[in-house]
């Protein structure tokens, strides 16, 4: 067996989601190579050579991979992947974008967002917004898999001495191009990798009131999230959405404020270690998953919490 892990990076550094994916790969087999496709990404490749679990770092450094366009990266993964039994990538917006393209070219039925490895061909994955866990077995010779990163620890980053191999393969299909990117600037930690997340729901009433969460987030070093209801109501942008169709988070502490707890939201946060719910409606379903529930008006509880932390 041999596994190819497709690295998530930004041409400057390796993202943590890559480390979770390598950890998932290790549960399948120990023979793991890492693919770094990008442009001017040599630093990423050099740091990846320190990963103790990686045998070989494959570097495809071409301008056509700079913006991680699915069309170009998909072909590259399918070509390199032919020599492997498993291809894994984190289920990030990049992984979700290019992995099915590679899978289709390899005629492999992809398995999305695995949460555990049962054997080399059998995996667990959530379906129906996490209300059921399916155990699935694939008969494909090359298994294409995306990994729910919150379900796996991070692998070690130091002590390895992987060899580096350059892949000289330009796959510029020329049918798509990157125009621009607007990334939310924030000094706070990233939502999907934060130790503490505080999220607001429809109960916040409007976007301005999210400032009540900011003071607490600053004191705790937390990321700020939101329920789909808050996004749908236009309070905050969609990249803050936690849930089935938004981000999946599993921090040490998740504080849900003014969130009723619709199944779509629970799907995105119920694997958090400790869940706190603050809601004035004591019947709200969020209290059924909360370790600590505070039945209180959030407009009173939040200022008090910020003051006392």
């Amino acid at each position: 067996m041999s596994i190819l892990v497709v690295a998530e990076h930004d041409n400057q550094e390796l993202k943590k989601s890559t480390l979770n994916t390598i950890e998932a790969a290790k549960k399948i087999d120990s023979n793991i190579d890492l693919l770094i496709a990008g442009s001017n990404c040599n630093e990423v490749a050099d740091s990846a050579c320190n990963l103790p679990d990686i045998a070989k770092v494959l570097v495809a450094d071409k301008n056509c991979y700079k913006d991680f366009l699915a069309e170009n990266i998909g072909i590259l993964i399918s070509k390199i992947g032919e020599g492997y039994t498993h291809i894994l990538a984190p289920a990030t917006s990049n992984g979700k974008n290019y992995m099915p393209r590679a899978a289709a070219l390899l005629d492999s039925a992809q398995i999305s967002e695995i949460i555990s490895v049962i054997s080399d061909d059998t995996f667990e994955r959530p379906i129906y917004a996490g209300n059921c866990i399916a155990t699935v077995k694939t008969s494909d010779l090359i298994k294409v898999i995306t990994v729910r990163t919150t379900a796996f620890d991070e692998c070690a980053t130091e002590g390895g001495s992987a060899s580096k191999e350059l892949i000289d393969d330009d796959n510029d299909l020329g049918i798509s191009s990157f125009v621009s990117e607007e990334l939310a600037e924030s000094d706070r930690p990233e939502l999907t990798s934060a130790d503490i997340v505080i999220s607001g729901g429809r109960g916040m009433q409007n976007g301005e009131n999210f400032s009540l969460l900011e003071g607490i987030a600053d004191k705790l070093g937390a990321a700020i999230g939101a329920s789909r209801a808050a996004v749908d109501s236009g309070f905050v942008p969609n990249d803050m959405q936690v849930g089935q169709t938004g981000k999946i988070v599993a921090p040490n502490l998740y504080i849900a404020v003014g969130i009723s707890g619709a199944i779509q939201h629970l799907a995105g946060m119920k694997d958090s270690k400790v869940i706190v719910a603050i809601n004035k409606d004591e019947e709200a379903p969020i209290f059924q998953v909360a370790d600590y529930g505070l039945v209180s008006d959030l407009f009173e509880a939040l200022p008090e919490l910020e003051a006392k932390l």
């Binding site: 399916a134 494909d140 125009v179 008090e304």
Partner: protein, 250 residues
């Protein structure tokens, strides 16, 4: 310009699906079925393109059992011009759905294919990308805004951390995210009209695609339960519990 809109029949999003007690699958007895919410957004976007004069024809297509006609009729009531059902009782997986859709796309030669980004039953998030790949079309996944330009389409995508804009040559595949639009409700006159719109049916054999799944579901079980929590009386007690009992803050 011709727009193809593949849709999926799924359990209504308000239903909380549970695993059967013998763990052989999800318990779907007598549950309400509907168009997958993301597919509804796809239909709406295609119909808006037609209403604004940018598209001439909108074709809804689905893969499923004969009851899937209901969802195709809903798409017709929302404004699609005609519908195609690829009828099969096999529970198809995204790869075979993509192959069947490729076969339909080869016949219809659409300029644009709009699909939902994921179905809320299997949560795979694959079909649009696989279809684009098989057709060698570019793709704009997780779209929150699209704009047609001369021979191209500009797509604003919802990505981790913000928004990304890409420009794609036509023909192209777009998959919808939540904020692309708010789908309309079908009016009663349109529901009546939809009954008379054409609906063609094919079998997978006629399209030369073998829909047999590669992935076998060994069991479907409930997720691990969280132990019941406690209700705290005050902010002070909450802080105390988080510091001294859960030890998640200092």
């Amino acid at each position: 310009m011709k727009v193809l809109v593949p849709i999926k029949r799924v359990v209504d999003y308000n239903v909380k699906v549970r695993a059967k007690s013998d763990e052989t699958g999800p318990d779907l007895a007598n549950v309400k079925m509907a168009i997958n919410p993301f597919c509804e957004i796809a239909v709406e976007e295609a119909v808006r393109l037609k209403e604004s004069g940018q598209a001439e024809e909108v074709i809804a297509v689905s893969i499923g059992n004969s009851a899937t006609q209901e969802q195709l009729r809903t798409a017709l009531a929302l404004g699609a011009d005609r519908a195609i059902l690829v009828e099969t009782d096999i529970e198809t997986e995204p790869l075979s759905v993509a192959k069947l859709l490729k076969s339909i796309a080869d016949k219809e030669e659409p300029d644009l294919i709009i699909l939902g980004k994921q179905a809320i039953d299997d949560d795979s998030n694959q079909t649009g990308q696989m279809l684009a790949s098989l057709l060698s079309f570019p793709q704009g996944t997780f779209a929150s805004e699209i704009k047609l330009e001369e021979g191209k389409i500009s797509v604003v995508r919802e990505v981790d951390g913000g928004l990304q804009t890409v420009s794609l040559n036509l023909p192209a595949v777009v998959t919808t995210d939540l904020r692309l639009n708010e789908p309309r409700y079908a009016s009663l006159p349109n529901i009546m009209k939809a009954k008379k719109k054409p609906l063609d049916t094919f079998t997978p054999e006629e399209l030369n695609v073998d829909p047999t799944p590669r992935i076998e579901t060994l069991k479907v079980s409930p997720p691990p339960e969280r132990a019941a929590g406690v209700v705290v009386e005050s902010v002070d007690e909450l802080i105390d519990k988080l510091k001294n009992e859960a030890k998640v803050i200092t």
